[in-house]
C-alpha cells in the first residue's frame, strides 16, 4: 500500500505537533512543509530531511499530495484552504480550529470542499477527549432524563495580568481561540441553538478577552462564559454542566460527575477511562483526531467534525459578535 502524502502548512507549535504525530501513524508520509518564516524553514530543513520545505503554496503543486494540514494562524485559513483546493488540487484537507475567521468565509470553504468531494475536518480535538466522549454517551443513554439547561465555560490564564496587545491576538480573540472548543462541544452534545444575549469585554487594546452569552435550543437554554484573563488557570480548562429532570452532569478535562437526587454521585476520573494512545504528544486527543482523519481518507469515509459541522461554530461566533 502506498503511503498517503501529506503537506503541513504553517510551522508553529500545532504544525510541529501534527507533523510529529503523522510521522508515527502508519501509511502516512509528511512530504512537504510550508511556512513564510525563513527562520522556521531553515530549522525545519534540518529536522525533516526527507521532506520539501517551501515558502509558497504554489511550490506544493507537483508533489501529488493526498492531503494537507492547515496549521497557520486563523486569519490565513481562508486564503490557504481556497488555494489548496483551487490551485494545488488537494482534495483532503484538515484545518486547525476555527475553520475561518468569519462564517461567510467558512461557508465558502464548505462549498469548495463539497465540490471537491474529499475528506475534510476541523481540529476540534476536545471531541476526542475520553471525558467529553463519556459524557456524551451518558447523555445519549438518557442518564439525566429530559434536558433543561446547560452552562459551558472555557478559561485560561494566557492573558491574565497583561494589559497590552500581543502577537497572540492574531489567534483571533478569545471566542475563536478558547470559546470555539466549548461552542463545538455544546453543538455536538445538544444540537443547534440561537444566540440571544451577548457581552464582550476588553482588557487590552480593542481585543476580545472575556465573553458571556446566552443561547436557546429546541428544548433547552444555555449560558457560556469564556475568558483568557482568569487567574490560576495554568492550562486551558473547558467545562460543561448539564441539568436534566433526573440530575446534573458536570464534565471537564479531568472527570465526569453525575449527581442524581437520592443517589451517590457517579465520578469517573480520566485515568479510569482508558486514555492511552499508540503515541502521546501533547494530549492523547491529538493522536486520536489525526488517526480519525487519516483512517477516514484511507477507508473512503467522511470525518467529523467536517467543515460543514465546524462552520456552525463560526456561525455562532459571528452571531455573538453581532449581538454584543
Amino acid at each position: 500500500m502506498s503511503k498517503l502524502k501529506v503537506a503541513i502548512v504553517g510551522l508553529g507549535k500545532m504544525g510541529l505537533l501534527h507533523s510529529s504525530i503523522l510521522g508515527i501513524i502508519p501509511n502516512v508520509e509528511v512530504v512537504a512543509l510550508c511556512d513564510k518564516s525563513f527562520v522556521l524553514r531553515r530549522i525545519a530543513k534540518k529536522l525533516f530531511k526527507r521532506s520539501a520545505v517551501v515558502d509558497d503554496l504554489e511550490k506544493l503543486q507537483n508533489l501529488s499530495l493526498d492531503c494537507a494540514y492547515v496549521t497557520a494562524p486563523i486569519p490565513a485559513h481562508f486564503p490557504i484552504v481556497n488555494d489548496l483546493y483551487s490551485k494545488i488540487s488537494v482534495s483532503n484537507v484538515f484545518v486547525e480550529k476555527t475553520l475561518a475567521s468569519s462564517w461567510n468565509n467558512a461557508d465558502q470553504l464548505c462549498a469548495l470542499s463539497e465540490k471537491n468531494r474529499g475528506v475534510n475536518m476541523v481540529g476540534y480535538m476536545k471531541r476526542f477527549s475520553v471525558t467529553f466522549s463519556k459524557a456524551k454517551s451518558l447523555l445519549e443513554e438518557n442518564i439525566l432524563g429530559e434536558l433543561d439547561s446547560f452552562r459551558g465555560s472555557a478559561y485560561s490564564s494566557d492573558f491574565a495580568n497583561i494589559n497590552q496587545a500581543s502577537q497572540g491576538l492574531s489567534r483571533g480573540g478569545v471566542l475563536s481561540d478558547l470559546g470555539s472548543h466549548i461552542i463545538d462541544l455544546a453543538l455536538w452534545f445538544f444540537g443547534d441553538f440561537k444566540v440571544e444575549d451577548a457581552v464582550i469585554k476588553s482588557s487590552m487594546n480593542n481585543s476580545e478577552d472575556e465573553v458571556t452569552f446566552k443561547v436557546r435550543g429546541s428544548n433547552l437554554t444555555g449560558e457560556f462564559d469564556v475568558s483568557w484573563c482568569k487567574e490560576n488557570y495554568r492550562l486551558p480548562n473547558f467545562a460543561l454542566t448539564v441539568h436534566g429532570d433526573k440530575g446534573t452532569l458536570t464534565v471537564n478535562d479531568s472527570n465526569v460527575i453525575v449527581e442524581s437526587s437520592g443517589k451517590k454521585p457517579l465520578i469517573l476520573y480520566r485515568p479510569a477511562l482508558n486514555d492511552n494512545v499508540p503515541f502521546l504528544l501533547g494530549d492523547p486527543e491529538y493522536y486520536r483526531e489525526d488517526e480519525h482523519f487519516i483512517k477516514s481518507i484511507l477507508n473512503g469515509d467522511s470525518a467529523e467534525p467536517s467543515f460543514r459541522t465546524a462552520s456552525k461554530v463560526d456561525y455562532i461566533i459571528d452571531k455573538v459578535k453581532k449581538e454584543a
Partner: protein, 301 residues
C-alpha cells in the same frame, strides 16, 4: 544514579507549579501558598529529611528560587538534583504572546545576554548555523548556567533531562543524530543526560535501534497500576522495561495523578524490578513526611 542498587526516592515539583492532573479544581483549591518558593523549599526539605534522596524539577524561576532557599538551609548536604528542560509551559505561554518566531528571538536574546561566555558563544554559533544541534547545545549551556548559579558549588546537578515534548519529537521524527549529540554533549559536561517520555515502549525500541547505551542515560516515564499515561498500554510498557534491565528508569505518575493510593502505588512500583527510583510530588508538610517515610519503608527497604 545510585550505583549501590539502592532505589531512589525523588520529590517532584508539579504541585509547586499548580499541577494536578486528576483535577484542575483541586490544584486551584490548594491556594497560592504552594507556589511560594519558601513554602515549596520547606516541603522539599521535609521530604529529604524523611527519606527522599533528591529533587526533580523543571527549570523555572520558581524552582530556581526553591534551590537557592534549599542551599541556604541545608549546609553542604547536596540532594540529588534532576532538572527537566525546557519548562514547556513557560515557553508555550511565550509562544502564545510572541508567536513561534518571536519566542525563538526571545530565547536567543536570553542566551546571548546571559553572563555565561560559553553559552553566548554557542548562542552566536546557533544563530549563524540554525542547526538544531547547535541550538540545543546553546540552550543547554544557558539552562545549566542558570541552575549552577542557583545551586552554587555546594550542590551538584546529577542529571539534566529533556522534557517529554522534545523527547517525543525526537523519537517521532527519527532524530537519532540529535539524541546522540545531546547525550554526548551533556555527558561531556559531567552530567548524566536524561529523557522524560510518556511513550516508554516506543522510546526503548527507537533507542535500541539507534544503538544508544541505556546505562549512560536516565529515563523518566509513567508507571502505575492503572496504566495511566503508559502508552500504548501498561502491558507493552512493562514488557519494554524487562528488555532493558541495565537502564536507569525513574517512575513518575506512580499515583496516576492522585487516582491511586500510596500503598497500591508503592506495591506496584516495587513489583517492577528494573525501576531504579520513583518521583512523587507533595503539597503539605504532613503529606511530605508521610509519603517519604512510607516509600522508604515499603518501596526502598
Amino acid at each position: 544514579m545510585s550505583g549501590s542498587g539502592k532505589k531512589l526516592l525523588l520529590v517532584g515539583d508539579n504541585p509547586f507549579h499548580g499541577i494536578s492532573h486528576l483535577s484542575e479544581d483541586r490544584a486551584r483549591a490548594r491556594g497560592s501558598e504552594i507556589n511560594m518558593p519558601d513554602f515549596a523549599a520547606k516541603l522539599v526539605q521535609v521530604s529529604l529529611e524523611n527519606g527522599a534522596d533528591g529533587f526533580m524539577f523543571s527549570v523555572s524561576e520558581t524552582t530556581l528560587s526553591i534551590l537557592r532557599t534549599l542551599r541556604k538551609n541545608m549546609d553542604n548536604n547536596s540532594p540529588l538534583l534532576y532538572a527537566i528542560v525546557p519548562y514547556a509551559y513557560e515557553y508555550v505561554r511565550l509562544a502564545t504572546h510572541l508567536g513561534t518566531v518571536g519566542l525563538a528571538r526571545k530565547v536567543a536574546k536570553q542566551v546571548i545576554f546571559s553572563a555565561n561566555l560559553r553559552a553566548v558563544g554557542a548562542g552566536l554559533k546557533c544563530i549563524i548555523t540554525m542547526d538544531p544541534k547547535d541550538i540545543l547545545k546553546a540552550y543547554l549551556l544557558y539552562e545549566v548556567s542558570r541552575i549552577r548559579s542557583a545551586i552554587g558549588k555546594s550542590f551538584s546537578l546529577e542529571s539534566i533531562m529533556l522534557h517529554e515534548v522534545v523527547t517525543e519529537m525526537i523519537i517521532a521524527l527519527n532524530l537519532d543524530w540529535l539524541a546522540k549529540s545531546y547525550i554526548k554533549y551533556v555527558s561531556d559536561l559531567g552530567i548524566k543526560p536524561g529523557f522524560e517520555t510518556r511513550n516508554f515502549a516506543y522510546l526503548v525500541d527507537k533507542f535500541q535501534e539507534w544503538g544508544i547505551d541505556f546505562k549512560k542515560i536516565v529515563i523518566t516515564s509513567a508507571f502505575n497500576g492503572a496504566g495511566f499515561q503508559m502508552n500504548p498500554s501498561k502491558e507493552i510498557c512493562e514488557a519494554a522495561l524487562t528488555r532493558v534491565p541495565e537502564s536507569n528508569v525513574i517512575a513518575m505518575s506512580i499515583l496516576a495523578s492522585g487516582y491511586l493510593k500510596l500503598p497500591e502505588a508503592a506495591q506496584y512500583s516495587k513489583s517492577l524490578s528494573n525501576i531504579k527510583g520513583v518521583v512523587v510530588g507533595v503539597s503539605k508538610e504532613q503529606h511530605a513526611y508521610e509519603t517519604f517515610n512510607f516509600l522508604r519503608e515499603k518501596f526502598r527497604d
